[in-house]
């Protein structure tokens, strides 16, 4: 557990995250309006979403199933009876003056997320609860000098609020938690995890304390919209709190905003006066009752999740926990790897996927889904290596050529004549030529300077433009140098 050093000694940071994950669905949680991102303002709004007089909510069954699916993916208890409450407060983009949420009786209870630590160990982070609620609209403050513009397209879209226990201790852990959560949501297909488009938003509850002391007063940093920012915000907030306390001040419980530009957090003005949300059961809705059979059905249909996949990769492909962890991080890369590894040396496949492939993807900065080299193509290249058609070294050049031309390995090897030379006659000829040209070196070698062996190998490879089979070169060189 890593601590932060202050003037008065070291401090422990205590972090809990509240993640708002937008549910993947066609229509909104309580209305039939569409959820697509990026539509013209107020074009995906019904009179229900705009809270017109007399309008009533009717819940979307698929959104409920998505919440259950997510709960099961987090190995959490599913509450067969849950209740929707109204959270009352006034804001420009909250048309009804209340948000329909779940307060006392959420649809999902305690669960957990397992983090893979860099040192290969794992750490379990508790999930307190997951509940369904409506998203609010969007306020644009920068469009006009005197007015805020309000777009209700997002108003009423289903969100899953996923609350963690205060189990996180460093910004790195917070980052790892978000990555893992996002990965699970994507595996489940319940949230696309796109933080830029706001389909995954994070509130960070941060407090500091001397190791072993009582929990300190926490501040909530609202709506941080990238994993990097979350880590920065936590870092800054922790140091700010330590400074305040060490300067003899005390932390006020408050809601703060992260200013990504300046990398600092500041109090949120619109949340200045204390809130009193006056939660009470929404009388327009009735208790949400789930059929245990339906829940079981969803459980049976769950896809293989990252942890299970990782275990299987370690077991079946004999990969290191680290490699397996990297490969299952995104479902797409795990699938890509399995396609490549099928019927081939799994370690070799892993090296190529995590090495040259990921390297290329990073350079081009594209997702594995749109990789210029398909799993099939990479597999064929590996086959050429294993059947000695091309040397491991030249294979790297072949791969580079595949990336830029999109041609198959075989074609490139053919076109560029990179076929490995295994014909002993040709190799012996090359060796003889080298030995003739290096008479002194040969003599030195024979007089015991066998360090020179590598030099001769290099010369022979050079003479064959690297195409000679390294194994044969060694074998034949030894013979001939021995004389």
């Amino acid at each position: 557990m890593s601590l932060i050093e202050g003037r008065t000694g070291s401090w422990e940071v205590v972090i809990g995250l509240e993640v708002h994950a937008q549910v993947i669905s066609q229509a909104k949680l309580f209305s039939g309006a569409a959820t697509a991102f990026g539509a013209e303002p107020n074009t995906q709004v019904s009179t229900v979403d705009a809270a017109f007089p007399g309008m009533l909510p009717v819940i979307n069954r698929y959104c409920v199933e998505q919440a259950v699916r997510t709960g099961l993916g987090l190995e959490a208890e599913i509450n067969l009876v849950s209740v929707f409450d109204r959270k009352n407060y006034f804001y420009a983009d909250l048309p009804a003056g209340y948000q329909i949420s779940q307060y006392k009786r959420p649809i999902v209870g305690k669960g957990k997320i397992v983090l893979d630590m860099p040192d290969g160990t794992t750490r379990e982070i508790g999930i307190t609860r997951l509940h369904l609620e409506q998203d609010a609209g969007k306020s644009l403050h920068d469009q006009h000098a005197e007015y805020t513009y309000v777009d209700l397209n997002r108003s009423g879209i289903a969100l899953m609020e996923i609350v963690s226990e205060p189990d996180l201790r460093t910004s790195e852990e917070a980052g790892a938690y978000l990555k893992k959560l996002r990965s699970i949501l994507r595996y489940l297909g319940t949230c696309d995890g796109n933080m830029e488009e706001g389909s995954l938003r994070c509130d960070c509850n941060v407090s500091v304390r001397k190791p072993g002391a009582e929990l300190g007063t926490r501040c909530e940093i609202k709506n941080v919209n990238s994993i990097r920012y979350v880590m920065q915000a936590i870092e800054h907030e922790a140091r700010r709190q330590i400074e305040v306390i060490e300067d003899g001040g005390k932390i006020e419980q408050e809601t703060r905003l992260f200013d990504a530009g300046r990398g600092v957090t500041r109090p949120m003005r619109s949340k200045e006066h204390a809130h009193d949300y006056r939660y009470f059961p929404d009388p327009d809705l009735l208790p949400l009752v789930l059929d245990p059979k339906a829940v079981e059905h969803i459980r049976r249909e769950l896809p293989e999740l990252p942890d299970a996949k990782k275990a299987r990769f370690i077991r079946d492909y004999k990969l290191s926990p680290y490699d397996a962890g990297v490969l299952v991080g995104e479902k797409a890369s795990a699938d890509f790897y399995e396609a490549v590894a099928k019927g081939r040396d799994p370690k070799l496949a892993a090296n190529w996927v995590m090495g040259d492939l990921f390297g290329a993807l990073n350079r081009l900065n594209v997702e594995v889904e749109s990789s210029p080299v398909s799993a099939k193509a990479l597999g064929e290249l590996i086959d050429l290596i294993t059947d000695n058609t091309v040397s491991g070294r030249l294979a790297k050049d072949v791969f580079a050529a595949m990336v830029e031309t999109g041609k198959s390995a075989a074609v490139i090897v053919e076109e560029r004549g990179l076929k490995q030379v295994t014909d002993t006659g040709a190799i012996e000829a090359a060796i003889d030529a080298v030995m003739k040209a290096q008479v002194e070196k040969v003599a030195e070698y024979r007089s015991g300077k066998d360090k020179l062996f590598g030099f001769f190998v290099g010369q022979v490879m050079k003479a064959t433009q690297g195409k000679a089979n390294p194994g044969l070169v060694n074998e034949l060189l030894k013979k001939k140098l021995a004389g």
């Binding site: 229509a27 013209e40 107020n42 019904s46 698929y62 006009h144 007015y147 949120m268």
Partner: protein
Amino acid sequence: MALDKATVARIATLARIKVPESDLEHLAKELSGILTWIEQLREVDTAGVEPMASVAEMTLPMREDHVTDGNCRDKILSNAPQQAHGFFLVPKVVE
């Protein structure tokens, strides 16, 4: 229970209803009167009684995930006191 002026002012702010200082006194008296009358409920022992949120003896009906509404901006904005470029306008908010 008697409400004082401060409490009435706090509730009025929560409810976003402007109440002139001069009305607080009178309003506090009026609301206190109603609350005192309401508090006869205390006579009843309700220990262990389930609270009733709705009389409807049914569970929540669900609809299918189909887009059946929206795409009617003119309707949505037709009653707006102030609008521009397809947005509702409100006095500028500082976050």
